[in-house]
């Protein structure tokens, strides 16, 4: 029996729905576990019981949690994430204005990491045991051992203070000014992308080494195909498992962008999140976390579908 792409997509989508439901419920439930509940956070510990009661009624906090949850999710589906009780801002508006920034930062990290990892991993595998390989392996190890925010600080020290080549803080949208926007994205992209570059380099190297031992390559060579084109054949196969890792890493880059935005003072969702945490703005916090995780789940879904599409061997199962 073979599974068609459509069957697989439907199955995978049906799997994503309960995961998303559970994720949103966890976030929603967590926020309600805050000591004293949101009302106390809003009014402070010296508010009178009457005041607290009034706020609880207004926010619907007296209803059972599942009623509150369904209410809230109903709003979310209409694009309404509630209103912050700290600065009275519409949470959806606050998120919408910062989401593109965060996505650009994440994308910058993604581009940097693949630009480094694909040549580094390939070179490391093809020239196994040489100086090139050592460089690749060392990079693979150091890249995952250096915390990204510290790398960011070191880059700040190098570029901001010493050389004055690239902007070290702030953000210009690449949509409004492509050249300046890209300049602002270079250091954040390098900072965010290094760890993923290291992981993908290692992974690509070991997959390619395995693939290069395949007998089918000898068959191809015997037909007189050049070494370069033989390598392309091997790379195509080596890439199948690497795609999964790349996709999962995209989600982690999204998470990593939180800290990168703080390091480089970029006004994105991550900074909004950290501010929400320090000002105990739980309505905003909950909205942002739901948006991040939804992106994460959707990206994983897309990756799984791509993987299925790329790997004909899976279809037979």
């Amino acid at each position: 029996m073979t599974t068609t792409m459509r069957e697989y997509a439907v199955k995978r989508l049906l799997w994503a729905v309960p995961v998303l439901a559970l994720v949103t419920f966890i976030v929603f439930g967590l926020v309600r576990l805050v000591p004293g509940g949101p009302a106390v956070v809003m009014l402070g510990t010296d508010a009178s019981p009457e005041q607290l009661e009034a706020v609880r009624t207004e926010l619907g906090l007296n209803q059972p949690v599942y009623v509150q949850y369904l209410d809230y999710m109903g709003g979310v589906f209409r694009g309404d994430f509630g209103r912050s009780y700290v600065n009275n801002q519409q949470v959806s508006a606050a998120i919408a204005s910062r989401l593109p920034t965060t996505l650009f930062v994440t994308l910058a990290g993604f581009v940097v990491s693949l630009t480094v990892a694909i040549p580094a991993g390939t070179l490391s595998a093809v020239k196994r045991g040489t100086k090139w390989d050592s460089v690749g392996l060392t990079f693979g190890l150091l890249g995952v051992s250096v915390p990204n925010f510290w790398l960011g600080i070191v880059l700040l020290l190098t570029f901001g203070v010493t050389y004055d080549l690239l902007p070290v803080a702030g953000y210009v949208s690449p949509l409004s000014d492509p050249v300046e926007g890209l300049r602002y994205l270079i250091l954040p992209g390098v900072t965010l992308g290094t760890a993923m570059a290291a992981i993908v380099t290692r992974m690509l190297r070991s997959e390619l080494l395995e693939e290069l031992q395949g007998d089918y390559l000898d068959a191809i060579r015997m037909k007189g195909v050049s070494e370069t084109r033989t390598l392309v054949h091997a790379m195509k196969n080596a890439f199948i498992p690497v795609v999964t890792v790349i996709g999962m890493q995209f989600g982690y880059l999204l998470g990593g962008s939180i800290i990168i935005e703080v390091v480089f003072s970029i006004p994105g969702m991550g900074r909004l999140l950290v501010n929400a945490i320090t000002s105990r703005d739980y309505i905003t916090l909950q909205g942002i976390v739901i948006v991040y995780t939804t992106f994460f789940v959707v990206v994983n879904l897309v990756v799984d579908l791509t993987y299925f599409h790329l790997n004909p061997r899976l279809r037979g199962q």
């Binding site: 995952v144 051992s145 020290l157 994460f296």
Partner: protein, 309 residues
């Protein structure tokens, strides 16, 4: 046949497979072989050495640090590295070296306790899911997937923000973050071990499921769990310092490397580089130690997954 003689790499692989098939020899010989292979792995030995230094510093910071971590000396604040203060002083004139030494304590606790917490919950889940399969497997793994659906830093941030900042909460929060990894890895091993003959024999002799899981399945998952634990320790140090950097880590005045970087970052533009460089190097070395050890363990315990076999 011809193929075998012209590639050197393949004959090495043969030898490995041979040793693996002798895995049923007495434990002592296995331990000795483990030690030998581990020692031959130079990088793993370096990792172990780094971790020994890390452990000593974390246990005896008072004996190593020249000053207490909170000894202020305001006239000498923001001094660069010197003989007296090898890593300079911070904004209150505290010795950065002493604070880095005391910061090892938080980092080490996080590195050891986080994998433990994750293991205690994740391993039984993985064993049950892998051994029983079916509906239980589906249900457990779906819950694991939804924890996995949070980017790690985001889940850590949210948990600490909700439950409050303390070392205990951070360890618990990071522990939760890594539960799914342990569950997945254990499930994978349990799934394949459950099909093996020794498990079938135990079952046919009337051993209870609990006994089979504990004595005949779990031990065979250990090497994968151990490798995962070292990787988790490295990630836990990075995550804890990230949380501290964002201001949701271990509360001051206890020095943590991430917390020092949080303050040090403010002095980057004025040129006080030592404030943020040295605590960062401490993070890099400790994380490197765990990563090297993890890579070494992987190649010794589970040669199939090692790219350099």
């Amino acid at each position: 046949m011809a193929g075998r003689t012209d590639t050197g790499g393949e004959s090495g692989g043969e030898g490995d497979r041979e040793t693996a098939s002798r895995a049923d020899r007495p434990a002592v010989r296995r331990a000795r072989r483990f030690a030998r292979r581990f020692r031959r792995n130079r990088l793993a030995t370096v990792g172990l050495l780094i971790l020994v230094v890390f452990l000593v510093v974390a246990v005896f910071p008072g004996q190593i640090a020249p000053q207490p971590y909170d000894a202020t000396d305001v006239p000498d604040r923001l001094e660069g590295p010197s003989l007296e203060n090898p890593m300079g002083t911070d904004r209150y004139g505290r010795d950065v070296f002493s604070r880095v030494v005391f910061g090892a304590r938080v980092a080490f606790q996080v590195a050891v306790l986080t994998p433990l917490v994750a293991m205690v919950v994740g391993v039984p889940i993985g064993l049950l899911a892998g051994y029983y399969g079916g509906l239980l497997d589906d249900a457990l793994m779906r819950v694991m997937d939804s924890i996995f659906a949070f980017p790690t830093i985001l889940l850590g941030l949210t948990l600490v923000a909700v439950f409050g900042q303390s070392l205990t909460n951070i360890v618990l929060a990071l522990g939760v973050v890594f539960i799914p990894q342990f569950a997945r890895i254990t499930r994978g091993s349990a799934l394949s071990v459950a099909e093996e003959n020794h498990v079938k024999v135990a079952r046919s002799l009337g051993a209870s499921d609990a006994r089979i899981l504990a004595l005949h399945v779990f031990p065979f998952c250990l090497s994968a769990i151990l490798v995962q634990a070292t990787i988790t320790a490295a990630l836990a140090i990075i995550l804890e310092s990230s949380l501290s950097f964002l201001g949701v880590g271990v509360p001051p005045p206890r020095p943590s490397w991430g917390g020092m970087l949080r303050v040090g970052k403010g002095f980057v533009s004025s040129g006080e580089w030592w404030y943020s460089v040295f605590p960062g190097l401490a993070i890099v070395f400790s994380v490197l130690g765990f990563n090297l050890l993890g890579d070494g363990l992987r190649s010794v315990l589970d040669p199939r997954t090692d790219p350099d076999r």
